[in-house]
């Protein structure tokens, strides 16, 4: 299943495959960026996520040139803020999604985004490998569940996340009543939740 979109992805994969597990793609690379400032790992992350972030930003309404520029900045942020990445709290896709989303708010809405207060973390700061793998497995499962959703539900979820559209704007765009959209999204989220049990 693994997407080997990153350039020269296989070199270190072989080295690290035995250490963790193949169900945790990109975690090892992000951790190498974080802890060792590993440029090779960063280039792989860039190769995989760059084109996805660019596509995401284009769907929020940016033209190709602006999306390209912003995607570059998102990846620079990944490098600069790698010390904040915690593999027990977010998958690489989730973490990079939040950075791309904040970029979108910054550029399209010209606003800063208030973030919740950080939780005070206990002394046990050493992440448990079990937790890391557990979380990444859940993320994989969630991705599969999303792909398995009925087309119409998946489209609405994508529009809600990518389109920078409120539910009422989705209603205008699709011609569906607002109530139908809300119940479809709710149904889709229910299915995702169910598939995670």
């Amino acid at each position: 299943m693994r997407d080997s979109g990153g350039m020269g992805a296989n070199g270190t994969d072989i080295l690290t495959a035995g250490m963790t597990n193949d169900v945790v793609p990109w975690v090892d690379d992000l951790i190498a960026v974080r802890d060792a400032r590993d440029e090779g790992a960063f280039i792989r992350v860039f190769g995989h996520f760059g084109p996805r972030v660019k596509a995401f930003l284009m769907r929020t309404g940016m033209d190709a040139a602006l999306a390209e520029e912003c995607a570059q900045e998102v990846l620079v942020t990944v490098w600069n803020k790698a010390h904040l990445y915690d593999a027990t709290r977010a998958s690489p896709s989730t973490w990079i999604f939040t950075i791309a989303r904040n970029k979108k708010i910054d550029v399209l809405r010209k606003q800063r985004r208030p973030e919740p207060e950080d939780l005070p973390w206990g002394p046990e700061s050493e992440p448990d490998q079990e937790d890391v793998i557990g979380l990444q497995q859940e993320s994989e499962q969630l991705g599969r569940a999303l792909r398995d959703l009925p087309e119409k539900q998946r489209e609405l979820i994508e529009k809600a996340y990518f389109g920078d559209l409120s539910h009422s704007e989705i209603a205008d765009q699709t011609g569906l009543p607002l109530g139908t959209i809300k119940s479809r999204i709710r149904l889709a989220l229910e299915r995702l939740r169910h598939s995670m049990k």
């Binding site: 760059g50 660019k54 990846l75 490098w79 939040t98 606003q111 919740p116 859940e138 991705g143 995702l192």
Partner: protein, 217 residues
Amino acid sequence: MTVKHHLTDDLLMAYSAGDLPEAVNLIVATHISLCDECRAALGSYDAVGGAVLDTCTTVEMSKASLNTVLDMIHAQDTLAQDKPVSTSIKDDVLPAPLIDYVGGGLENVRWRSAGMGVKQAILPTSKDATGRLLYIPAGTAIPDHGHSGLELTLVLKGAFQDEGGYFGRGDIEVASEDLNHTPVADISEDCICLAVTDAPLKFKGLVPRIAQPFLGI
């Protein structure tokens, strides 16, 4: 502390997707700072966003982009690491996102009288919604009002009661157009709330209607 009144799924998802006005983001972030349940729920909405990012189509980056990005990280690596984002200020009433907007703790809030002993301070956010801190003396009622839009009220200190129930610290009331309510601050102590509206409130009585331009709500 147990929070009983939570954010709706709509608001959590829109916060995760980044589709809310700044003042609404602020109240969502403040509630999550006080509510572990909504924090966990937000985690799952962000995870859905991550899954969508991972499963979506791709658009090729320009050929020069990798070198551009590498140049940028080399240029920046010579600079100092990120300046610390979270402020060191702690406040018993204001969670971190509010400290940021007030520019300090509770003593730094620039209150203005809104009549009847009520004080307010409007926070600096974008204009598509308004966020204000309200100071309501113990036992005081905010006049009966309806809404042309959304009104969110988060209790930071004390408590209030209205048709929707009893709201203590951390509780958020999500009032939409169909709710006419008269929040009354609990008698035991003064109440401080964060209130966010995305359209002007509609008061029922004559006197509050005259006061409305002064309250700015």
